[in-house]
Structures are given as structure tokens and as C-alpha cells.
């Protein structure tokens, strides 16, 4: 028994899961200290977050809706990172994907069974190209993907801002595009909700009705399917094998006959497609349109956090996506509940990532902690 416990402890100390769990714990502790210093009761504040997530079915539904794009961009970053590429460009790929989905959703008229897949696939295709550009110029010209994707992010942002000023696409003077067609939407019961029966249903069914008050949509199902696909491709296919080999050691990969340059392009394209799907799903399920951006929305940057907290794996991104989505939604409640700034969430998330970056420190802390016992 002692031995089992010992090996479990070793696994936690040396394993990625343990590192993540302790980092999350430390993140919340630091957050609590910050709240305390600012004169708030951290227990109350964290309580407000937990209530803000779990106290109503509607809230939980919102958390799912918040988490969906984060899981997707997290998958995007994670996928590229497994090939050793740092996809700061998820932000721009998200924007390009959302723009594409909004255009296909508005201009094309098709039955729903075709329209929705077409929107998502075209968003993925365009974003794959967007990500692929960064991969291509890295492979061919040695331009680091971090700098090229930063540039592509801004190009994407201004492209979208320009697109919504096009007369046939944008609503004049509002900085917003037209709404996509009903057939392109992936909301659940969106039309029915506003019929008399729908309204009756929402009134009479406490739990289901409450959930329906949020913009429920099928996006999360797509996200879970994509998470599975990412896991499957990376761990069960020759493509994933190649990409991981390149990520861990490009020299060995090359020497073994793997085409490193092609792998870089493929990986960035798939990462782009995932972030593009994130943007597409957001338009199809939540916003139904795109609007002029004054600044980066941060879905891509949050995706980096999600990926890192999730240890850069498919299942990990789902877990971290829900964690981050929950914190984002629940965290927005503490301003009203206890008056503490919502941004304590950013501090918590930043601290978690900081500790994840320092496995050496965590191991040191755990070892020392072990000795004290």
C-alpha cells in the first residue's frame, strides 16, 4: 500500500497532470491573496464565482457556450504546439473563420443540412490557408511563426473591419454585418422559443426552460468531436506520428525520412482550420454575424492559455476550456456580488500558466513539502 502511494506521489510529482493540478491550486491561492490585499473576502468572491456557474441551469448553459470557442482555439494552439510550432495566430484564424462563416451564412441560400456544414467547412478551409501561410513561410523562408502570425492577426482584423463596410454585406453605418440565414444557424429551438408554445414551455418547465433562456446551440458537440479528432490524429495516425516526431526532434524526423517542411505546413493548416471552426461556430451559434473590432477579442490568446493548462492535448483542452470558460463567465459575476474586479480571473489564469511554465519550481515545492511530512 505504501508502495502504491509512493508511486502515485512520484507520478503526481513528475507527471504533467500533477503539475497542472498544483499550478491551478497555486493560481487560486495567489488570486485569493490578491483579493485579500485589495480588501475583499476571497471566500466570498470565489463563492460568488461558484454560484455564478452552478446555481442555475441557465448559468451552466452559458458556461458551455463561453467554453466552446475556447476549447476550439485551445485545440488549435495545442495541435501546432505538438509539432513544435507556436500558433499565436489562432486569433487571426478565428477572425478569418468567423468572417467566412458570416459571408457564406448570409450570401448562400441552402437547406440547413447543407448550409451549416458548408459554412463550417468553408470557414475551416479559409482559416487553414491563413494558418498555412505562416507554415509555408516558416518552412520555405525560415520566418518564425510567432512574428508572421502576429502580422497575420492584424491583417485579419483590418480585413474584417473593411469587410463589414462593404455595402452588400455590412449594415450601413453600424459597423455590423447582416445576420446570417436561419438555415445556417446551429442554435437549438431558437425560432420555436419565441412562439407562444415555446414561451409557455419555458415558463412551465423550470430546468429546461431556464436552460433555453441562454442561446443554447450545438457548438459544444462540434467542439467535443473536434477534440476527439485531434487526439485521434495525433496519437493514432501516421500523420500525427510524423507531426509529433517533427515537434520533438526535427533532425531525427528528417533523418528518418519525414518531410519536415511539409509537416510544418500541414500542422499550421490544421491548427488554422481548428481556430477557423471556432470562429465559424461562434457566428453560427451565438453572434449570427460579425462586427467591426476595435481591438483583438482574445479568443486566440485565451486559446494559448487553454492549450497550456490542458497540457497541449485534445482531452486536456476540453478540461481547460471548461475551466477557463467557467472562470470567465462566473468571474464576471463577482463585480456585482462582492464588488471585486472581474480581472482577478486574468491574474489567476496568468499565475496558473506561470507555474505551469516552471515545472522545476513545482517539483521543488512538492519535494520539500514531502520532506516536512
Amino acid at each position: 500500500m505504501k508502495k502504491v502511494f509512493f508511486s502515485l506521489k512520484e507520478a503526481v510529482i513528475n507527471g504533467a497532470a500533477g503539475l497542472t493540478i498544483f499550478s491551478i491550486l497555486l493560481g487560486f491561492i495567489v488570486g485569493a491573496v490578491v483579493l485579500l490585499l485589495a480588501g475583499f473576502n476571497p471566500i466570498e468572491a470565489y463563492g460568488a464565482i461558484i454560484r455564478g456557474i452552478f446555481s442555475k441551469p441557465k448559468y451552466m448553459s452559458y458556461v458551455v457556450i463561453y467554453s466552446t470557442p475556447l476549447i476550439m482555439t485551445g485545440l488549435s494552439v495545442a495541435f501546432a504546439l505538438r509539432t513544435g510550432l507556436f500558433n499565436i495566430g489562432a486569433e487571426g484564424q478565428f477572425i478569418v473563420g468567423s468572417l467566412t462563416a458570416a459571408m457564406v451564412g448570409y450570401f448562400v441560400h441552402l437547406p440547413m443540412m447543407l448550409h451549416v456544414p458548408l459554412c463550417i467547412l468553408s470557414a475551416m478551409a479559409v482559416s487553414a490557408a491563413w494558418g498555412g501561410i505562416a507554415g509555408f513561410i516558416k518552412a520555405r523562408h525560415g520566418v518564425h511563426e510567432v512574428i508572421s502570425t502576429i502580422m497575420l492577426n492584424w491583417i485579419a482584423l483590418y480585413l474584417l473591419n473593411w469587410a463589414v463596410t462593404i455595402q452588400s454585406f455590412g449594415q450601413r453605418g453600424t459597423g455590423k454585418s447582416h445576420m446570417i440565414q436561419q438555415t445556417a444557424r446551429i442554435d437549438l429551438f431558437g425560432q420555436w422559443k419565441i412562439t407562444p408554445e415555446g414561451i409557455d414551455f419555458i415558463r412551465s418547465h423550470k430546468i429546461l426552460g431556464d436552460i433555453l433562456k441562454s442561446p443554447v446551440n450545438t457548438g459544444i458537440i462540434f467542439a467535443l468531436v473536434f477534440a476527439f479528432l485531434v487526439w485521434f490524429i495525433l496519437n493514432r495516425t501516421t500523420l500525427g506520428y510524423e507531426l509529433r516526431a517533427v515537434g520533438f526532434n526535427p533532425h531525427t524526423a528528417e533523418c528518418s525520412g519525414i518531410n519536415v517542411n511539409r509537416s510544418i505546413i500541414t500542422s499550421m493548416s490544421i491548427a488554422g482550420a481548428l481556430a477557423g471552426a471556432a470562429g465559424g461556430l461562434q457566428v453560427l451559434g451565438v453572434s449570427y454575424r460579425v462586427a467591426k473590432l476595435a481591438a483583438m477579442e482574445g479568443y486566440g490568446f485565451d486559446g494559448i492559455a487553454v492549450s497550456l493548462i490542458g497540457n497541449n492535448t485534445g482531452p486536456g483542452s476540453v478540461f481547460a476550456g471548461f475551466l477557463f470558460g467557467g472562470l470567465k463567465y462566473g468571474g464576471s459575476k463577482i463585480q456585482d456580488a462582492v464588488g471585486a474586479p472581474t480581472e482577478v480571473i486574468n491574474i489567476v489564469v496568468g499565475t496558473i500558466i506561470l507555474f505551469i511554465a516552471m515545472p522545476k519550481l513545482i517539483q521543488l515545492l512538492l519535494r520539500r513539502g514531502g520532506r516536512w511530512k
Binding site: R244, C255, S256, N259
Partner: protein, 498 residues
């Protein structure tokens, strides 16, 4: 140095070693790779703290906490891998950490360059103070390293494997330099495992084996054979048993090959070579004569500028590494196994399929066949005695010898017609070396062709059937191994004609 012990975790690198150096002497530290010579010197130079033990200089006990303290006590070190800042000039490298400055902390380059000139003339170390390190030859870079220590007023100079990367001429120059240094009253410590050099330069020799101090002897009073047996702890015979065998038809023909290195200089220039079935062809030569570029050209990692490489009559120049492996059946045990041979984070089973993951044995329709991959690993682990026998641990956690076994298992099991083995025993212990040699001979006995590239002349002479000597990018002589003698090969390797 008295009673020095250094432990890394549970590993004892130095176990109660004592060492005495007198003024003006050349003292050799002899031992196999990993015996603990370099660790001991790193302790002396303040890069490591000793776990126990004391160091006395001129009778005074000193605690060498850092290289700074070592330097101020007159200790200088010329590292095996040169510690030079490539984009910096010779002078900048020499003065780094000890820069003469004018007002406001501005570096006084003029006086620094004059100092460097003066020192280089004083000890016969010719270098251009303004040249950039990245443009210098290996020999010149070593001279910069020596100047670095002299600039700091070193009285004791430590040389870590100084001849490993030098040409025979450069080695002669180094011998002269060392004589100049001792004539000026400096003491020199040389870390080496080359017996001939010890006989040539050193006055005393301390032998270290597996972290233990074995003996300190006067070099004049012992023979090379005695030194060798003290070094390895037993009478060594590197002779490899192999049956007589007639080589078959040629499988690999290289004609007028030309390959340029990273700097754009033709490292392989007009090289001709033929490799036959059922033979081991050894390529002898000093490092840096085009071996690396030859291997890279053969495996598709470097561009062939001119000439042809034919395998069974088919051209493979400038094909991709993948095509060369699968279509032309060329296996490759890379020179640098950590950099090119393994994916450290992959487990053993994954590493064992690196060259065959996309064959029908291990995948169908892009899906990996995990059962086949792991049963393959179990089989190869048993066959090649890879330890620990666990297919699911990462390659990183294996010892160097077992990592090499893993690479050899992978390459041999893909059943290549030609096996290119580059420095296959570098850094391995004696047992692992024998194992590698046996495997190469087995390949040959099965009628395969083996190309062995090594800087160890003993290895080349004992394992090969035929020896080709490479010098400045071309083959300058071919000899049957049975008829070869070391003197003759040495002359060829130095570029002299027979």
C-alpha cells in the same frame, strides 16, 4: 587536489581522487570516456563544487567556488568543445570577462588588440586579433582558447582532449606550443585517452578508471600497453572475430562526388568509392575531412553539387531521405544519436518504427497498428537485449549504450541492403562497443554491405574488411584491412602519399 569526491545525485563521478602537479611539467590525465577526467578538471576550474576534498595551490588551501576564483588563482582551461562566442572577434573573445576599459565603461579595443598581439608573439600562437571566430579554422580557434587563459595570467593550463579535432600538422603545432609554455614555467594538464600523445608530450600520467584514481606514473618508465591495461582494467584485445568471406558484387558506387558544407566550401570534392556486398568498408580519417558531408549526401540530408551516387545501378543523389531509406534500402546509424537518431520523448516502441512507421507492417490507411508496433518492440528488445526491457518508457530514460542498441535494432530490422554506421561506438562502454561491432559483422556475414565511418583507427582496423582513407574530401588510399598498419594509415590520414 586532495581526496576529491564529486557526486551527481547518486552517481559517483570522482571517488577520492588526489592529484599533484609541479611547476613546468606536463601531466596527463588518462581514462576512458566517462571515467571522470573532465569532471575532476571541472572541479579544479570551479565549474563544479566538489562533494568532499580540498584543493591546494602553492601549498595554500583554496575554495574554488567559480571560474572567477580559478582564474584569479592562475588556472586556465581549454575546453574540448571550444567556449567561444562565434560572432565575436578574436580579441573580444580573449578579453571577455576581463575587459580593459576607458572612462565610462567603454571597452578599450585598441589596447586590447595590442595586448593580444604581444601575447600571441610571445608564445608563438599566431592569430589575427580582428578576425571573427566563425571564420577561423579549428586549430586557430584552439589557439584563441589558449590565449584566453594566458591573457588571464594562467600558470596552470588544463587541456581537455585537445587533439580530438586537430589534423596531424595541427597536433604537431600544439606540441610545440605546449613545449613553449612549459619552457616559460607554466604547468600543463592534458586530459586524453590517446596513449601515443601521452608518450609524446607528457612527463607524468595519472590514470583514472570509473571515477577511481588508479596510479600516477612517470611516462618514460611505462609502455603504451601498460598504460592501456591500467586504463581499461584488463588486457584488451579489440580484435573482432569474423570468418573469411569473399565480397560480392558492388552495391554502392560513388563517382566524383562533390558536397559543400555550411560555409559553402567543398568539403567532399571528387570522391570515388565502391562498396560491395558482404564487406565492411571502413572510412578512416581525421575529423573534418568531409566525413559528415559524405554521410549527409549518402542519406539525402545534404545536397549533392556534382557527381553521382548509385545503389544497384540507380541514382540516389539529391533524393529525399525517405526515398533513399525505403526505395534504395539504405539504413543509417547517425553520427549524433541524440540529435538525429532518436526522439527522446517518444517511447521505445515509437522510436523503433521511425524508419518504417508508414509501411504496411505498422499502419493501414494512415492508422497506426498499435498491437503490431508494440509486439515489434517486444521482439526487438529481446533480440537486441535493450534494457530495461520496457517498450513503453521514453528513449530519454535509457543509457547511452541502450539508446544506441535501439537505433541499431531499428536500422537492422528494416533489413537494409546498405548500412551506413557513423561513429557507432562513440561514448559507449567496452561491452556495448563489442556488441555493436558484432552486429556490424553479422550484417556483413548475411551478405549486406556496411560502410563504417569512424575516427577511432583501432575500430576501423579491427572491424573492416577494407579501409579507405579520406583526406580533404577525397579518398586518398585504399588498403585491405589485413595488410594495413597504423603507420601507413596515419601517413595517409595526414595527407602524405604512400
Amino acid at each position: 587536489m586532495i581526496d576529491i569526491t564529486k557526486k551527481f545525485g547518486d552517481v559517483v563521478a570522482n571517488n577520492h581522487i588526489s592529484l599533484t602537479i609541479h611547476k613546468g611539467e606536463v601531466h596527463a590525465l588518462l581514462g576512458e570516456n566517462g571515467a571522470g577526467k573532465t569532471t575532476l578538471m571541472n572541479v579544479l576550474y570551479g565549474l563544479y563544487r566538489p562533494t568532499t576534498g580540498t584543493i591546494r595551490i602553492n601549498g595554500k588551501a583554496v575554495s574554488i567556488r567559480s571560474p572567477n576564483v580559478a582564474i584569479s588563482n592562475g588556472i586556465g582551461m581549454v575546453h574540448q568543445h571550444f567556449m567561444l562566442v562565434e560572432p565575436f572577434s578574436v580579441t573580444e573573445n580573449i578579453i571577455l570577462g576581463n575587459e580593459p576599459t576607458r572612462a565610462g565603461g567603454i571597452v578599450d579595443m585598441v589596447s586590447a588588440e595590442a595586448d593580444v598581439m604581444r601575447l600571441s608573439q610571445e608564445y608563438g600562437l599566431s592569430v589575427d586579433p580582428k578576425a571573427l571566430i566563425e571564420d577561423l579554422s579549428v586549430g586557430s580557434q584552439q589557439r584563441v582558447e589558449i590565449l584566453k587563459t594566458l591573457y588571464r595570467g594562467a600558470e596552470i593550463l588544463i587541456f581537455d582532449e585537445p587533439t580530438a579535432v586537430l589534423t596531424p600538422q595541427e597536433i604537431q603545432e600544439l606540441v610545440t606550443i605546449i613545449k613553449n609554455l612549459t619552457a616559460a614555467g607554466k604547468s600543463v594538464i592534458i586530459i586524453t585517452h590517446k596513449l601515443k600523445e601521452i608518450k609524446q608530450i607528457a612527463d607524468f600520467c595519472t590514470i583514472i578508471r570509473r571515477g577511481e584514481h588508479i596510479d600516477t606514473v612517470e611516462v618514460d618508465k611505462v609502455s603504451e600497453e601498460e598504460l592501456a591495461s591500467m586504463m581499461v582494467g584488463r588486457q584488451v584485445s579489440f580484435k573482432v572475430d569474423k570468418p573469411e568471406q569473399q565480397a560480392g558484387a558492388a552495391v554502392l558506387e560513388i563517382k566524383n562526388l562533390r558536397v559543400v558544407d555550411k560555409r559553402g566550401i567543398a568539403a567532399v570534392n571528387g570522391l570515388n568509392l565502391q562498396l560491395k556486398k558482404g564487406e565492411i568498408l571502413g572510412i578512416a580519417g581525421v575529423d573534418g575531412n568531409g566525413q559528415t558531408e559524405l554521410i549527409e549526401a549518402l542519406t539525402g540530408l545534404a545536397r549533392v553539387q556534382a557527381g553521382s551516387i548509385q545503389v544497384n545501378g540507380q541514382e540516389l543523389a539529391n533524393q529525399t531521405p525517405g526515398t533513399i531509406r525505403t526505395n534504395h534500402k539504405v539504413g543509417h546509424i547517425p553520427e549524433d544519436r541524440q540529435k538525429r537518431g532518436l526522439v527522446f520523448e517518444f517511447d521505445v516502441a515509437e522510436n523503433l518504427i521511425l524508419s518504417s512507421y508508414n509501411t504496411s507492417r505498422f499502419s493501414t490507411f494512415f492508422i497506426l497498428l498499435r498491437a503490431a508496433i508494440y509486439s515489434n518492440a517486444e521482439k526487438l528488445i529481446k533480440l537486441f537485449d535493450i534494457r530495461p526491457a520496457n517498450a513503453k518508457i521514453t528513449a530519454k530514460s535509457l543509457s547511452g549504450g541502450n539508446q544506441q542498441k535501439m537505433i541499431i535494432a531499428r536500422e537492422v530490422s528494416s533489413n537494409p541492403d546498405i548500412l551506413i554506421a557513423a561513429q557507432p561506438t562513440r561514448g559507449l562502454d567496452v561491452g556495448a562497443i563489442e556488441y555493436v561491432h558484432q552486429t556490424l559483422v553479422e550484417q556483413r556475414n548475411r551478405g549486406k554491405a556496411v560502410l563504417l565511418i569512424s575516427f577511432e583507427l583501432d575500430e576501423i582496423m579491427n572491424v573492416s574488411d577494407r579501409i579507405a582513407v579520406i583526406y580533404e574530401g577525397r579518398i586518398v588510399g585504399e588498403i585491405k584491412a589485413k595488410e594495413a598498419d597504423e603507420q601507413q594509415l596515419g601517413r595517409l590520414m595526414a595527407g602524405c602519399s604512400l
